[in-house]
């Protein structure tokens, strides 16, 4: 049955509709959503609570929790995101996400490439150790994050023994057929006198050419990181 034309609707209804819509939009625009601050990040719920909340299907919950965690202390205007966070709490959250989805790589990517980018050596070391500890749980899948941790240890922290420890762990434990040769020989890179850009090029180029990364967003992310390192090194005297 065809509907009546809009001209059949009383003018008063149209006026109220338009007025209420304008008021609703004005009200919402006057209360913009503010991103959560670092201090808003509380410790994660217990494993039992998360198990209950996942309704028997933990992977979707793990993905949502990771995106939730990522939004803390990150704003477009933040010059250095994440540095105000309590890293003990961040570590607990990352552990919970990994517990929910052990095959997921996001927590380790976040630890090594986001939370380890802050200019605070203690926090960086905390995240690198987290990656190292978790690497042991699934070396053939988690080696890329430890390889990046080794590069950070060498170039940012100037801590060759730490970098060597991470590289040796990859060599010793990541023995699967999908682990590229360059990763197994990571220790050589550590010992060679290469600069940060060169190392990053070998690693990111290696990741991309080995075909282990398929996600376009991750490829874009790595490519962007490479360009950031290039820009940072160019700006240095």
């Amino acid at each position: 049955m065809a509907e009546r034309p809009p001209s059949d609707v009383p003018k008063a209804v149209l006026a109220i509709l338009a007025g209420a819509l304008a008021l609703q939009i004005t009200l919402k625009m006057s209360h913009p959503v503010t991103p959560p601050a670092a201090s808003d990040l509380h410790p994660p719920p217990s494993q039992a609570s998360l198990r209950l909340a996942s309704l028997g299907d933990p992977i979707p919950l793990a993905k949502v929790l990771m995106l939730y965690l990522q939004s803390f202390d990150y704003q477009a205007l933040n010059r250095i995101p994440y540095q105000a966070l309590n890293y003990d709490t961040v570590r607990q959250w990352l552990l919970r996400v990994l517990w929910l989805d052990p095959r997921g790589q996001y927590p380790l990517l976040a630890a090594s490439r986001l939370y380890a980018e802050v200019p605070d050596e203690t926090k960086v070391r905390q995240m690198l150790e987290f990656v190292y500890e978790q690497f042991a749980g699934d070396p053939d899948r988690r080696w890329p994050w430890l390889a990046h941790a080794a590069a950070i240890a060498k170039h940012r922290l100037d801590d060759l023994p730490l970098a060597k420890r991470y590289a040796a762990a990859i060599q010793q434990h990541a023995t699967g057929p999908n682990v590229p040769l360059w990763a197994k020989q990571m220790e050589v890179f550590i010992l060679e006198d290469m600069n940060e850009l060169e190392t990053a090029r070998i690693m990111i180029g290696g990741f991309l050419s080995s075909g282990t990364i398929h996600d376009p967003a991750e490829i874009r992310f790595l490519d962007q990181r490479l360009r950031e390192i290039e820009a940072r090194l160019k700006s240095q005297p």
Partner: protein, 258 residues
């Protein structure tokens, strides 16, 4: 002249229908089950047992109230349409807006009564000030759900589609702020057209949804109630949204051919 007698009669029959549908008995059973659950939690909790009781009881009662109100309105309106009662009412010498106002007033009375009944058991566990704010906010939330359910059932006319749309609206309104925060925390500094378009769409949807995530908060029961500014803001939000959706439903009702 507004046919007040027609509106009040229609509202009265709607409330009578709720009573005869044993809606208030259902509410009493829900309250009983919720209190039993609270007692069970009190037995098993080692610490913060009062907070655990209040939090879970309030969350359960809020969701149950929303579910009961939405289901009652949608099934009642569809039954009336199937029994040709809607056509009979619209054939009366009263404008369609009076029919809508009568139905809305009846459903709103049921929603407010339900909010009061569901707030009562919390008086055993929560401080009065926080509980008053929580109950007032539940009234506002249920009035919004009432108007949205009416809008959906008038527009979609079927139980399944109307209930799905109301449920989607409710969960989207509750999670929209979190979605906006997550959408704004994109890690790539180069935003593609797709990123910008998605952010724009999320922000546009958020503009026309009520801030249900700021309403009926359990931390008012556990910690402290909202401030005056926040309370007034929520009341304004509820009033504007109820008028907005009611006028959208009226727009749809006036365009329908029966």
């Amino acid at each position: 002249m507004i046919p007040l007698h027609f509106i009040t009669t229609l509202a009265g029959t709607t409330v009578l229908e709720a009573v005869r549908n044993r809606l208030f008995w259902l509410a009493a059973i829900v309250v009983g089950v919720a209190l039993g659950l609270a007692q069970f939690l009190n037995q098993v909790a080692i610490t913060e047992s009062l907070e655990i009781q209040v939090a879970l009881l309030a969350a359960l009662l809020r969701v149950a109230a929303v579910f009961i109100v939405a289901t009652f309105i949608i099934t009642s309106m569809v039954r009336e349409a199937n029994d040709k009662v809607t056509e009979l009412m619209l054939s009366q010498p009263a404008p369609r807006s009076s029919y809508f106002l009568g139905k809305f007033a009846g459903y709103a009375f049921v929603a407010v009564s339900l909010a009061v009944v569901f707030a009562l058991p919390l008086a055993l566990f929560a401080p009065t000030a926080g509980l008053m704010a929580w109950a007032a906010s539940l009234v506002c939330e249920l009035l919004i759900v009432t108007s949205v359910s009416l809008f959906c059932v008038i527009s979609l006319t079927q139980v399944l589609s109307a209930f799905a749309a109301t449920t989607a609206f409710y969960f989207l309104s509750r999670s929209m702020a979190a979605m906006q925060v997550i959408a704004g925390a994109s890690l790539t500094s180069e935003h593609t057209f797709a990123d910008a378009a998605i952010n724009w769409i999320v922000d546009a949807i958020a503009l026309i949804l009520p801030s249900l995530d700021r309403m009926t908060r359990i931390d008012w029961l556990v910690n402290a109630g909202p401030g005056m500014d926040e309370t007034l803001g929520l009341l304004a939000q509820s009033a504007i949204y109820v008028v907005l959706i009611a006028s959208a439903a009226l727009f749809d009702l006036h365009r329908k051919n029966y």
